[in-house]
Symmetry: C2
Subunit: 193 residues, 2 copies
């Protein structure tokens, strides 16, 4: 149990409380932020917990600490593992499984970015291309393609496509490069401006 583990350390009760308070504050805020970015609160909280305690926890630890049900823990932990930002961990001689967060924030960011790009940006980009195809000369004829309204819409679609392609390229730089990539990016940027 986590309790037994806590006992191993020699934190005074006052310090232990302070530690927990600080962790809880972080967890709460992280959960709130997740929500506004389209990540469900509990999932973000579990992740924050695993990240901030910096030690593998089992499902019961998570349930107890965040006051959530077994079912919820199970599903959320699975989702976090699917994202790749949490790992399952077998301790030798232990029957139950433990979970730990990735350590490196930059790696986490890379994983999340890559996944969201794939899930949410790529389909939009594809749709925009399809919309443009529906309005190009080959499809509706040269005459029609010159109509004022068609022209306007075509321009807007083109503008959006260009934008998304560029942001895609930026993401591409982050993905795979992770920490080294990002810090390099930042160095370059801060110098360039």
């Amino acid at each position: 149990m986590a309790v037994a583990e806590a006992d191993r350390t020699n934190l005074s009760p006052a310090v232990a409380t302070q530690l927990r308070t600080a962790q809880d504050l972080f967890i709460r805020r992280w959960g709130e932020m997740g929500q506004t970015w389209g990540i469900n609160r509990t999932m973000a909280e579990i992740h924050a917990l695993l990240y901030v305690v910096a030690e593998p926890l089992c499902m019961d630890d998570v349930m107890e600490r965040l006051h959530i049900s077994r079912g919820n823990s199970s599903m959320s932990l699975r989702a976090l593992c699917d994202w790749g930002i949490v790992r399952r961990l077998h301790k030798l001689g232990e029957r139950r499984e433990f979970f730990e967060s990735l350590t490196d924030v930059w790696d986490m960011f890379s994983l999340i970015t890559a996944e969201r790009k794939r899930r949410e940006m790529d389909p939009v980009l594809e749709t925009i291309r399809e919309c443009r195809r529906m309005l190009d000369e080959k499809t509706i004829g040269k005459q029609a393609a010159r109509g004022r309204e068609v022209q306007l819409t075509r321009e807007r679609l083109a503008g959006m496509e260009e934008f998304m392609e560029v942001t895609n390229k930026i993401f591409q730089q982050f993905i795979g490069n992770a920490r080294s990539g990002l810090t390099r990016v930042v160095r370059v940027l801060l110098k360039a401006f």
Copy 2:
């Protein structure tokens, strides 16, 4: 009315249908994407509509085109204006108001980025700093601050703070620079890697 306006143009019915189909497809996808990023679907759809038709529309146009109520239109349009990505527009001799989207995608991105940074990242960063303060030597004493668990949590919080500070700086570059800033960023990046 928008109908009268459409009549002014000489689109064949077939082309008009095709145009509308393409626009609707874009609007739908944009709405879906918005949802997954924590923006409500209708708001994203209204924005997509105003952007893609590239002509000012009045509230009734919006209601009719997206099949939403007057109340919903009113609130969503107000929110879009608050974000600054949609503008109110008076046509001379017209009683009702029209709405148009910003034209430049890069400007839109800047506005949204700035606002989300302010609303969602800054408070988190402040919280992390507060958590760190709760666990520093001055607050809990030198001895306690060296406890294993306290150390671990402190390291994690520090890692996250560093990350958020760097991403903040990147955002900072975009905000205000908008198009020129971003394209410059991209050029630099593509050269550097």
